[in-house]
Amino acid sequence: MAEAMDGIADGATVLIGGFGAVGQPNALIDGLIEQGAKDLTIVLNNAGSGRVGVSRLMELRRVRRIVCSFPRSSDSTVFEELYKAGLIELELVPQGTLAERIRAAGAGIPAFYTATSVGTLLGQGKEERRFGERNYVMEHALPGDVALVEAWQADRWGNLTFRDSGRNFNPVMATAARLTIVQTQHVVELGDIPPEQVMTPGIHVDRVLHVPYGDPPLF
């Protein structure tokens, strides 16, 4: 694990896959807690829950800023306490804009226009342009220094599949960081994943760690 997490610097932007408990790279998040990097910007859909994982990382005061669409969940108390105390910055991003900003980063597109958030608080201060009959705001790409990804299968080249709705942000984030670290349930031989079923090609993947933990916990 220490090897897998090597090179994550203080101040890094870390993209973390998953949606709720599904497709979340829990072992890698624990690895990041162990690894010690601080002053982090964390990009993920939710702002953690309970006292483990991303919540633990925040509780240890290692997160300077969180970029997410839905910080408030049933058990997001660590985030809420820090936020109320002014001890963590929040950049709230509409979920589709978040996904597209990450996608754009991976695709080499520096910015794009979207109708999402036009005329709302989250569109304020953003460049607005009219195309055809409608106004759009400009949104910037959101690249990561590191992406932490959970896969179902991985081979030696880093070709990946994802299970059911565990796909979510994982393939998008895998494309958008300079260092993409994957935890996988299954390690398979080259060729075992039929080419047309590869969901993330290995070109996007730098490191793979075998973590056969089974199913996400029931909630």
Partner: protein, 220 residues
């Protein structure tokens, strides 16, 4: 007319609102249902009417909730509830899921609302400009991106304030996007002239409805 006539109607309950909205969803539509009351709508679309449900986390072709004990822990909807798939279902990643939304490919999105205004503005994500840690999720993308946006909501708040307003006071989710509103009292379309009453619960008359509504209502 005797005074007792004023109270001679029964507002719909949450299930009733969901059922009323479900009645109007035709065969073949691709539909995204928001968290909360909108999710109930799926229960009232008849099994023989093929409506394809989308969830922001990359699921197309969702079926009903699983039987207890038969949950697939890898298959949840945007509300993080366990769901099932119908034959023909598919998965996409988050950016593709929102390309479906942003690209105008969904026939309908149904969301809940704090306030709906006569110009089609919707407020449903924050109750003040400095709300502590507001959560927006996919609501702004859905409201701006789907071909049609319907809102299901109680007509008034628990304290009796109208949620059907001339202009929203809460922070907006999207501007000029709402096409139709289903409340516990009526169905309203949003047209250039404002709200138009399409349907009322049995026994409710236009003037009584108007008296419970902040915005000006137009007769069909």
């Amino acid at each position: 007319m005797p005074d007792t006539a004023v109270a001679s109607y029964t507002p719909l309950d949450r299930k009733g609102i969901a059922r009323r909205a479900a009645d109007d969803i035709p065969e073949g539509w691709y539909v995204n249902l928001g968290i909360g009351m909108p999710t109930l709508i799926a229960d009232y679309v008849p099994a023989d009417r093929e409506v394809i449900f989308h969830s922001e986390n990359g699921v197309l072709g969702m079926g009903p909730a699983p039987e207890p004990g038969h949950e697939n822990r890898w298959l949840i909807n945007a509300g993080k509830q366990y769901v099932t798939l119908r034959p023909g279902a598919s998965y996409v990643h988050h950016a593709d899921s929102f390309a479906i939304i942003r690209g105008g490919h969904l026939d309908l999105c149904v969301l809940g609302g704090f306030e709906v205004a006569e110009n089609g503005d919707l407020a449903n994500w924050a109750t003040s400009a400095n709300d502590t840690a507001p959560a927006v999720g996919g609501a702004m993308d859905l409201a701006a991106g789907a071909k049609r946006l319907w809102v299901v909501t109680d007509h008034t708040t628990k304290t009796g304030a109208s949620k059907i307003v001339s202009r929203c006071a809460y922070p907006l989710t999207a501007i000029g996007s709402v096409k139709r509103v289903y409340t516990n009292l009526c169905v309203l379309d949003v047209e250039p002239r404002g709200f138009v009453v399409r349907w009322m619960v049995d026994g409710l008359d236009f003037d009584t409805l108007q008296a419970r509504t902040d915005a000006k209502l137009n007769r069909d």
